[in-house]
Amino acid sequence: MAVIEISGLSRAFGPVQAVRNLTFELNEGEVFGVLGPNGAGKTTTVRLLNGVLKPDAGRMRVLGLDPESQGKEVRRQTGVLTETPSLYERLSARENLRFSGALYGLGLAELEARVNAQLDFFELGPRADDKVGGFSKGMKQRLALARALLHGPKVIFLDEPTAGLDPEAAHQVTQLIEQLSHEAGRTVFLCTHNLDEAQRLCDRVAVLRQGGLLALGSLAELGRTLWRGTWVEIDVQTALAVGLRRDLTRQPGVQRVEGEATRLVVQVSHEVDIPDLVGWLAAQGARLMRVMPRRHTLEEIYFELQEQPEGRPA
């Protein structure tokens, strides 16, 4: 079931086209990554989907509601972690959460129970009554995440959740997001620069550039679209003789052979060609140490997409 539907969405700020004709859908329970450099339109998309910014054109639905006319109802069911934590530093962690809960109309008893549960879950209990101004960046980000989740949103938007955090705090926050994303039925819309984080967390990604959609799909789908065929890495104990290497390129299904010495990187038409290839090499006396189909990393996919000329979405 589609939780978010966007069709032809556009928004400009003066001469700058922040979001350009975006179209995609998010399914329930999915972790969806939105990648792109600064100014790609990630934050603007979050704002449009939460009804705090009006589009110039296009259609949106979030949980079946129109954010433009039903923004308040949309925001009641979504949680947003903004790029800066947006916390009240003169108030304590508990007061921040209480205020947020009050805005979502939580009753006093329920609010207290949820505030305590969130403080415990995010390991902020011992500092609950301290002013947030004295917290580290990592603690502030955990508190901001606790606030975004306090009212049990069905969709959560995370805008650069690990930006500006030291590696340890970033790892902690990523782990928390991973935990949260597995909670039944929760849909996560993750805007990030951090490709490792996206690769680890996301079921599908959308890659944006200058407000437009460059590519959309799972890692495997994007890899297949960008690089035809399947690549397999083969480690051999000793380098293949020149003749044997030449014969390898002539085997059925083999398209290309790269790599040097004991590490071969072979492009085959389909994954099913790999067993035959391995069998042939073994029959030729090659001592195989490791055979591994090559998965393209999100980083490889991302940079390949960013290098493509404009107007050629994958």
Partner: protein, 275 residues
């Protein structure tokens, strides 16, 4: 309109501003001077000086001023001793417009902290993502700005009344404060002036980036208060009961215009277009 949301926003803003020393210090110091130090000095010093000099207090320097006052005032002062005239005229009439500085200042402080402070501290974005309407957000902030201004002013009025009556008791021989002018001033003009301070800050907040800039600009409405004081002292526009009603009406009209502009400025779409 969800009033529990409005109260939640107002409570949070008040809690925040109560932690802001730059806001709190003038909110404490100025009223103390206005309602305790000044009236005590005005009432007690002439008594002390005339006792020390062994002369009866004379209104020699005030004669010309008193002659310019409207008949209602000269009537109220008729039959009083020079020292009684001094006490009633200064603390009961001349001081009245100066009191308007309190609601103006307090509303400007809180509104500046509430509207611009949120931007300055980068907390506005989080608040705008809450399930509140634009109207509920702005109303919460209006309540947070105007209520403490009124509370401070009315509490100051009570203290001022006690100080003036008690310090003046040896001279007056009775409790005489407040005079009729103070009721329309407190109940009609003060709320209008508090709203003026708040509404100015709302509009200014969309054009400046810091709390101090907003506070200084919105508090420049103090010029209006000084003009009223000048009118009072010179007798050109004496703040009598009917004049107080008219001044209040004029300020409310300005408030309505400013609020109309302010509410239109305070929309999520506009704010996010500038963030």
């Amino acid at each position: 309109m969800n009033w529990s949301l409005i109260w939640a926003i107002a409570r949070k803003d008040l809690k925040e501003v109560s932690q802001n020393k730059a806001a709190l210090v003038p909110a404490v110091v100025v009223p103390v001077f206005f309602v305790v130090v000044f009236p005590l000095a005005i009432v007690l010093l002439p008594q002390a000086f005339s006792r020390a000099a062994g002369n009866a207090f004379s209104l020699q320097d005030l004669e010309a001023l008193l002659q310019r006052m409207p008949p209602a005032v000269t009537q109220a002062l008729a039959g009083l001793s020079p020292l009684q005239v001094w006490v009633v005229f200064t603390t009961g009439y001349i001081f009245a417009p100066m009191f308007l500085i309190l609601p103006l200042m307090m509303a400007s402080i809180v509104a500046s902290d509430s509207f611009v402070g949120e931007k300055e501290r980068k907390t506005l974005e989080g608040l705008l993502y809450s399930p509140t309407s634009d109207a509920e957000l702005i109303l919460g902030k209006i309540v947070a700005s105007v209520l403490p201004a009124l509370a401070l002013c009315w509490a100051s009025f009570v203290v001022y009344g006690m100080v003036v009556n008690l310090a003046g008791l040896p001279v007056m021989g009775r409790l005489w404060f407040p005079t009729a002018l103070w009721w329309p001033l407190m109940l009609w003009v003060v709320p209008a002036v508090a709203t003026l301070g708040m509404a100015s800050a709302v509009i200014i907040s969309s054009r400046v980036g810091t709390f101090m800039e907003s506070y200084q600009l919105s508090a420049s409405g103090v010029v209006l208060v000084l003009a009223l004081m000048a009118g009072q002292v010179t007798g050109v526009l004496f703040l009598s009961v009917p004049v107080a009603f008219l001044v209040g009406l004029a300020v409310w009209a300005v408030d309505a215009g400013l609020l109309w502009v302010g509410v239109r400025t305070f929309s999520r779409n506009r704010l996010f277009s500038r963030l």
